[in-house]
C-alpha cells in the first residue's frame, strides 16, 4: 500500500518535471510574450498520480489474463462470446442493416454526411485490414492508393468527363495495379522495413501530387468533380447526400461480404499463416511473394475504389487530404478495432470517426487520443476491441466415422 503510494508520488513528480517547460511556459517569440500556466502543474500531478495506479492495475490484470490463458482458461470478453454465437451475430447484423437503411430518413443532411465519412473509413479500414490484420504487412502509406483512386477520378472527370459509375471499378483497378507495381519490389522485405518503405511511397505520392502541376493542378487541387449520377436525374444537395449514403452502405456490405469470404478461404488462410510465421509458411509450400502481393494489391483495390467515392462526395480534392496522418488514422482504426477482425474494424471506424464529430470537446484531442490508443492497445489489448472470430469447420466424413465406431 505505502509502497504503491510512494511509487505513484515518484511518478507524479517525474511527470511534473517532464511536462514543466512545455505545459507551464508558453513563449511567443514573435510578440515577446511569456505566459506562465502554473495551474497545469497541479493537473499533471493529480492526473499522473491517478494514472499510475490505473497503469499498475492494468499491467497486473494483463498478467492474470496471460496466466489464465496459459492454463487453457477462457479470457474472452462478454461481447466476444456473444459475437462468436453465429445466429446472434446474424440477427444483430440484420438489425444494424435496417437501422442503416432508415438512418438518412430520420436524420438530417449534416448527420448523413458525417455518417458517409464514417462509412468511407469503414471500407478503408477493412481494406487495410487485409494487409495489416490478415497478412501482417504493416502498410504506413495506405493513403497513397486512396489518393491514386481519388486523383484518377478527378483527372479523368476534369478532362474527359468520365462519370462516377464508370470510374468506381476503374479506380479500384488502378489502385490494384499500383499495388502490384509498388508491391512487387518490396515483397522480400522484413516487416519493419516494409512499413518504412510503404511510408516512403505515401510521402512520394504526396510530393508528386503537389509538384506535378500540369497533371494534378498542384497544391490547389481539382475542384468541381461530378457527383455520382442517377439516370441523369438532377438531384438536390440533400438528396444527393442520401444517394451517396446508400451507395456507401452498398459498398460497405459488398466489402464485408468479400473480405469475409476471402478471410475464410485458402488464400485468406495463407495470409494469416504468413502473418504468424513466414519461414514456416514457405516451408509448408506457400509461395510467399505471390501471397503477399495478392494481399497488398487487394488492399490497394479497396483504397482506390473508395478514393473515387471520396472525390465524388467532396467534389474537391487536393494533396492535403492524402497525408501520413490519414494513413495513421486508418491504421489506428484497424489497431483499435482488432487486427484481422472485420467486426472490430467496423467498430473501430465508428468510434474513431464519430466520437470526435459528436463530442466537440473530444475533437481537439482527436489525434492525441489516436496516438495514445495505438500504444495502449498494443500494451494492454493487442488483439483489439474485438479479436478475429475463431473459424470452426464442419467435418462430415470424420464425424460419421466416430458415430459408426
Amino acid at each position: 500500500m505505502w509502497q504503491e503510494f510512494k511509487q505513484s508520488i515518484v511518478v507524479s513528480i517525474w511527470f511534473v518535471f517532464l511536462t514543466f517547460p512545455l505545459m507551464v511556459v508558453r513563449v511567443n517569440t514573435m510578440e515577446d510574450l511569456v505566459e506562465w500556466r502554473w495551474m497545469n502543474i497541479a493537473w499533471v500531478a493529480i492526473a499522473s498520480f491517478l494514472l499510475s495506479y490505473l497503469w499498475r492495475y492494468m499491467l497486473a490484470r494483463k498478467q492474470v489474463r496471460k496466466k489464465v490463458e496459459e492454463e487453457g482458461g477462457d479470457t474472452r470478453s462478454k461481447l466476444q462470446i456473444m459475437l462468436e454465437n453465429e445466429s446472434l451475430r446474424f440477427k444483430a447484423m440484420g438489425v444494424l442493416l435496417v437501422a442503416a437503411l432508415v438512418y438518412p430518413q430520420i436524420f438530417d443532411t449534416y448527420q448523413t454526411t458525417i455518417m458517409i465519412s464514417a462509412l468511407i473509413y469503414v471500407v478503408l479500414g477493412l481494406g487495410l485490414n487485409i494487409n495489416v490484420g490478415l497478412a501482417g504487412m504493416l502498410d504506413l502509406g495506405y493513403v497513397a492508393f486512396f489518393g491514386i483512386g481519388a486523383y484518377t477520378f478527378g483527372i479523368l472527370n476534369h478532362h474527359f468527363d468520365v462519370g462516377f459509375w464508370m470510374m468506381l471499378p476503374v479506380g479500384g483497378m488502378v489502385g490494384c495495379l499500383f499495388g502490384v507495381i509498388l508491391g512487387f519490389p518490396i515483397l522480400r522485405l522484413r516487416g519493419d522495413y516494409l512499413a518504412i518503405v510503404t511510408l516512403g511511397f505515401g510521402m512520394i505520392l504526396k510530393v508528386v501530387l503537389e509538384n506535378w502541376g500540369s497533371l494534378t493542378f498542384g497544391p490547389s487541387g481539382i475542384a468541381n468533380i461530378d457527383k455520382p449520377g442517377l439516370f441523369g436525374l438532377d438531384l438536390s444537395l440533400a438528396n444527393h447526400t442520401i444517394y451517396i449514403y446508400y451507395i456507401m452502405i452498398a459498398l460497405v456490405v459488398f466489402t464485408i461480404i468479400v473480405t469475409n469470404r476471402l478471410k475464410n478461404s485458402r488464400v485468406g488462410r495463407a495470409w494469416m499463416a504468413l502473418r504468424e510465421d513466414e519461414v514456416a509458411c514457405i516451408a509448408m509450400g506457400i509461395d510467399m511473394a505471390r501471397t503477399k502481393l495478392s494481399a497488398y494489391a487487394l488492399g490497394a483495390f479497396w483504397a482506390g475504389m473508395i478514393g473515387v467515392v471520396f472525390a465524388s462526395k467532396t467534389t474537391f480534392i487536393n494533396p492535403a487530404s492524402f497525408t501520413f496522418m490519414e494513413s495513421a488514422i486508418i491504421l489506428s482504426i484497424v489497431v483499435l478495432g482488432g487486427m484481422g477482425s472485420i467486426l472490430g474494424v467496423i467498430l473501430g471506424a465508428f468510434i474513431l470517426i464519430l466520437l470526435p464529430e459528436y463530442m466537440r470537446a473530444f475533437s481537439e484531442y482527436r489525434m492525441l487520443i489516436f496516438g495514445a490508443s495505438m500504444t495502449l492497445m498494443m500494451i494492454f489489448r493487442p488483439q483489439g476491441l474485438i479479436s478475429g472470430l475463431r473459424q470452426t469447420y464442419l467435418y462430415k466424413g470424420a464425424k460419421e466415422e466416430i458415430d459408426n465406431g
Binding site: 490463458e69 485458402r266 509448408m284 509450400g285 467435418y395
Partner: protein, 266 residues
Amino acid sequence: MAENKHKLLEVKGLTMDFGGLRAVDSVSLDVHEGEIAALIGPNGAGKTTFFNCVTGIYNPTRGDILLHPKEQKTRRLNGLKPNKVTEMGLARTFQNIRLFQGMTVLENVMIGRHCRTKAGIFHAILRGKTFREEEQQIVESSYQLLEKVGLGDSANEFAKNLPYGAQRRLEIARAMATDPLLLLLDEPAAGMNPQETSALDQLIVKISTEEKIAILLIEHDMKLVMNISDPVYVMEYGKKIAEGSPQQIKDNPKVIEAYLGEEADA
C-alpha cells in the same frame, strides 16, 4: 538391405559456407523408400544447416540434392525456393516449434494442404461449387490427419494453447498434409519426457509403415533413434563421420569419441 529398395533422396557432397565458416562439409546421404533414416551428431555438428540446405532455406555452396520420385523424372532441388521443395515432395518440421500460433489446430493442418489445392481469389469471392467442394475436401483430409496424430479432439483449439508434445505432433500432421514423399523431422523429441518420446517413436513408425512416407530425422540424443532408425548417419564438425546400421554406429569408435568428447566438454 537397402540395395533393392528405391532410392528417393540422394545428397551428394553437400557443402555450405557462411562467410569463412564451413558449416557443412561435403556430406553425402541417401534415403530410400520406406526407410526411417536418422542424422545424429553433437550440438553444432551442422545437422540443422544440412536440413535447411535440403529444404531450400539456404542455397548450398556446392553439392547436389536429387529427388527421385518413383516413375518420374529425377529432380535437382538445389536453389529451389522452400515452397517449391515442398511442392516436390519434401516436408519438414522445425527444431523450435514453428506453428501458426494464432490459428486453430485444424487451420494449421489446412495450411499444409495449400500447395495441393488451387482455389484463387476469384473462387474465394464467388464461392462456386468447385470452391466449396475443394474447401470441404481440405477440411476432411486435414481432420483425418489430426485423428491420425491423436489431435482430433483439439481441432478447434488455438495452436498456442496445446501442450508441448501435442504441438510437436501437430507440426508433423501439418507437414504430412503437404502429401510428402519424404518427411524431414528436426529433433522431434526435443524437450519431451520419456512417455511422450515413446509415443512419438510409435507415431513415426506408424507414418513410415502405414502412410508409406520415407522419413529422415535429426536427433541430438543418439539413444532415442536407435530403436526405430536404419540407417543412421553421424555428423561432427560439419563432416559425416559414420554411417550404417544402429549396431554398427554404436560400435564405431569415431562416434563414441565424438559423443564422449562432447560429454567431457560439458
